[in-house]
Amino acid sequence: MRELTFAEAINEAIREEMERDPSVFVQGEDVGRYGGGYYPALRGLYDQFGSERVRDFPISETAIVGTALGAAITGLRPVVDLMFADFAFVCFDQIVNQISKIRYMSGGLAAAPLVLRGVMGAYSHLAAQHSNSIEALFCQFPGLVVTIPSDCRSAKGLLKSAIRSNDPVIFLEHKMLYLTSGDVPSDREFLLPLGRSNIAREGRDVTLVAHGYMTQLALRAAEQLQANNISAEVVDLWTLAPLDKRTILDSVRKTGRLVAVQESSVLCGIAGEIVATVCESGVALKSAPRRVTGKSAPIPFSPPLEDHVLPHPEDIIQAARTVMQ
């Protein structure tokens, strides 16, 4: 295994799948010679595959996503670069009212095998409009697969599976992960399953459920909790929808305690979903579950304020301590 940066892991996943399957192609803004927008993960693909398979678009997200849908239902496999995931808002209908529903509305005759990649989240001082965590929104639309890697390895393995999937996959890459690197298998058949959660760290006393960059925070928290003799298990939700309840419930059944983490503000997010799932399952809890979430505000630009509204490992540690009492 070699260490790759997050961008390299994404790049390798796409490159391998494009080499493997001629129906796979990339489209979006600045994906060509530029190699991808502000978080360039596509470097070199244009040189290797040319402008027909690495397709530069004008700033027309509705067309970018809509044409991808049209291509997908006619036999191709587009991998769309949304640049910032926030731009999903300007083409939201195409995603949640078209892509998610075409298989169903056609009585199963159509498939929309496409991937929508977008860079999500905050912590990067990019202010309110470019810092949204929007994964929960997509979970309300059955038909979509919502997948979020938490590190370089899962980025490669999940993205490759996403590209091979016959379902439309929302694939969200956290900005902060672009600052990381890690071991990534070079195996061209290295695939991680969609629709599954991952035990990122085993533990006995408390289950921390997180996803994406939050998993990194949870792992850091678990590390420090260990120093205090609290053994935390970290469940990493590789896929949010459809949700792998079993892995979560199995973990909580073992630990009897739950802390659920999300970056976005509290209402109707993933953390609430996890807490509700566990509580209505009847799995016996030793204490009331807790959520760690972003505070209820748009993301402020001012760095100390941004810091203030976002979750940190200390918040997770404190929540874990609370549920341990």
Binding site: S60, T67, Q98, G195
Partner: protein, 395 residues
């Protein structure tokens, strides 16, 4: 620089040579007689310019063109007639069934507009793609969809095109290249651009057709679809069923443009306005546009002037369109006009036409029987086709 003038003679000569386009420099001035001949035969004018912009053949919009059946194969003409009758027959039945509440939900009928999809689909090949509007029954029928399956879909029965899951505004028939009707204004345009892009990438020579209403042209998706189609020179036809109203909003009040055809031209693609009550005019224009697209010359916008004779949707209680206008367009009924032309020019007798409408009636009755007698989908269907089934759903 003086402007060229197009004479009737030029048109006749072009016709004699079997051409469908007349090349001119600059803006043509069309004599009334030439205009008649032009629109009659769906010929359009090619302006020689940087990007081959087209001027509409009947920019007057809403003017009638004589229906001239001369030179066409009788079988072809009767097929056009039969198709329009099938649309009308199907939709008349839907209207009745809706009143009886045997069909529920949305039903937007296109009675009065039959010539548009009929003319368009007659010019397409079997591999071509289409997307439809919310008012898409006629487009389905014109493409050759089965009336019984369609009726069953409108009933929500398992024998419908989408197993009953789609309904009127989500009709699909992938076998026929019909990628779907759409309930969201403008959404199908970008999807169709994608199908055209896919055809081009795969090198298949398929052409994609996006039907849309006049109300669509002020929606952002329209803009993005046309720009990308032009930038990428996609093999796509944007076919506007301009029935002059979007619910209660008149096209003139809604749209800051000289015409919808002109709006197409603003994206450097040909945009023409044709008499949408004349299936042959629509057919000829489409044929030229299809050939052009197949040659790799890019997109084309066809604005078809038409009118719906029903309300916006079945169940509507508010009619704001002027009585006189409705009356005027009633006289332009596309089926009657083709019938009159057929009988006048004598390739068909009234008897033949009656036999066609009789057989259509039988087909419609049979479709209703089929739909009535078909079963609803088993409840388990409700949770099928959501995902592909590759992912184990544990929830």
């Amino acid at each position: 620089m003086s402007r060229p003038l197009i004479t009737e003679n030029q048109v006749r000569e072009a016709l004699a040579r079997g051409e469908t386009a007349i090349h001119v420099q600059g803006d043509p001035i069309i004599t009334p007689l030439a205009a008649t001949a032009l629109t009659d035969n769906g010929i359009y004018i090619v302006k020689t310019g940087d990007h081959g912009g087209f001027a509409g053949a009947s920019e007057g919009r809403g003017e009638l063109s004589p229906v001239s059946v001369k030179g066409y194969d009788t079988k072809f003409l009767l097929e056009l007639y039969a198709t329009m009758q099938r649309i009308r027959g199907f939709e008349t039945a839907v209207g009745l069934l809706f009143k009886q509440q045997r069909i529920i939900g949305f039903a937007h009928l296109s009675i009065g507009q039959e010539a548009v999809p009929t003319g368009v689909c007659a010019a397409l090949g079997p591999e071509d793609y289409l997307t439809l509007t919310h008012r898409g029954h006629g487009q389905m029928v014109a493409r050759g969809a089965r009336l019984d399956q369609m009726m069953a879909e409108l009933y929500g029965k398992v024998t419908g095109n989408c197993k009953g899951k789609g309904g009127s505004v989500h009709l699909h028939d992938f076998q026929l290249g019909i990628l779907g009707a759409n309930g969201i204004i403008g959404a199908n345009l970008v999807i169709t651009s994608g199908a055209a892009m896919s055809a081009k990438m795969r090198g298949t020579k398929q052409v994609a057709v996006a039907f849309f209403g006049d109300g669509v042209v002020n929606q952002g998706a329209f803009h993005e679809a046309l720009n990308i189609a032009s930038v990428m020179k996609l093999p796509i036809l944007f076919v506007c069923e301009n029935n002059q109203y979007a619910v209660s909003m008149s096209e003139r009040d809604a749209t800051a443009a000289e015409s919808i055809a002109a709006r197409g031209r603003a994206y450097l693609m040909p945009g023409v306005t044709v008499d949408g009550q004349n299936a042959l005019a629509v057919y000829e224009t489409t044929k030229t546009a299809v050939e052009r697209a197949r040659r790799g010359e890019g997109p084309f916008l066809i604005e078809c002037m038409t009118y719906r004779s029903r309300g916006h949707w079945e169940g509507e209680t508010t009619e704001l369109r002027p009585e006189s206008e409705r009356k005027q367009w009633q006289e332009r009924d596309p089926i009657q006009r083709l019938a009159r032309a057929l009988i006048a020019a004598n390739p068909a007798t009234e008897d033949q036409l009656r036999r066609i409408s009789d057989s259509v009636r039988d087909e419609v009755v049979e479709a209703v029987r089929f739909a009535e007698e078909s079963a609803y989908p088993p409840l388990a269907e409700a949770l099928r086709d959501v995902w592909s089934g590759e992912i184990a759903i544990t929830q």
